[in-house]
Subunit: 247 residues, 2 copies
Amino acid sequence: MPSETRQPSFVLVRPQMAQNIGSAARAMWNFGLDRMRLVSPRDGWPNADSVAMASGAGRLLDEAVLSEDVAGAVGDCDLVFATTARSRGLTKPVYSPEEAMRVAAERIAQGGKVAVMFGPERAGLENADVAQANALISVPVNPEFPSLNLAQCVLLCSYEWRRASGAVEARRDELAGAAWASAIEVEKLAEHYEERLEEAGFFFPEHKAPAMKLTLRNLWSRMPFTSEDVRTLHGVMRQMVRWKERG
Amino acid sequence: MPSETRQPSFVLVRPQMAQNIGSAARAMWNFGLDRMRLVSPRDGWPNADSVAMASGAGRLLDEAVLSEDVAGAVGDCDLVFATTARSRGLTKPVYSPEEAMRVAAERIAQGGKVAVMFGPERAGLENADVAQANALISVPVNPEFPSLNLAQCVLLCSYEWRRASGAVEARRDELAGAAWASAIEVEKLAEHYEERLEEAGFFFPEHKAPAMKLTLRNLWSRMPFTSEDVRTLHGVMRQMVRWKERG
């Protein structure tokens, strides 16, 4: 059963290598997409080579909707994108993958149905296919080396779908059970080090001592310490003192 | 010769399959990255299987910097990321690929040196490798199927580098030599259709005619017509009239 999340259908148009259909299924499912449509796969359908390559994402192949032509595959959709690596001489809006998937998510949130077409490996979509799309998607590749394969193109669009539709956190902090150190903990650490270093004769020559102390205070306070880090650093200093006292 | 663009180094740590080193080189160069570093590739270096797979991006392999350990590979860098698929029990910031490459671009613009580490295929980076990084990168995959391979992970980070460092246009319009129709051209088209449709008895019943005309005017004006589209539609109407007059 396809997942219940509302999402675009990805349409592989006349794919050539059966393995690539399997790789595309994996790339889709890596990012939570599971509606595949196929237009006339060259090597027939179903296909054992596709299944072998899809390991873990085989369900997408079982559920893939097969059509004879593009019109049949995208007829129920009200927003159709065509991925393309080159200019087509057709008047169309051209979106980045990010912007396209943002627009797709918007349309789907409004109750629309969206399809994204991917062309055959060697030559890409024909102009007759592209003419049935509302807009193009062009991946911003290095113009000196624009050789993305089918599964890579599917991967990037799937990735952008997940970014557009979900909550991808830009940054979080993995704290491994620890908590951030409070300012007072850091202050006490600074004092501990300052006292011991004073005894040890670190702040020398004397006229530079205030500046050296300030530098050290500032160093501690700009570190993203956890409470555990602070305990560790207290231990470091205590050990140095013990070692010294042992003589 | 590496390109002159300032950019992060991508570091493959103990890669297992030689082919994957070639695929990673292709993925990097697809998005304009060409500084690869290698830590102890399992199958030795240089490697003919890597070269065969890198077709078109072989220069990256020739220029790859080989190190024995992670410390040697990233020692000159002041911001080191480690890509990882799982939680590490280590206190670290965890970035999305997008945010990581944004931070990398910022650091590089300030004159810094950035490295991104990728682990061996099967097990990923060891905690001892991860501990040498300043931050983690986690690709936001489907938790039910988080099976990205090495080259795919390199591809997504390379893609995000290009997005972060360059001007990726969200949307442009491919105009195929045409220009957008001016308001006056659209107005004349609307008039042409309105006149002919009036003759043809389209606006019926009469009390509904003003609303029907308004609907039609609005239809024309909300279409993203080029001048060529407008000429085509004039031709359509003229032909219908000729056809009618032929009797």
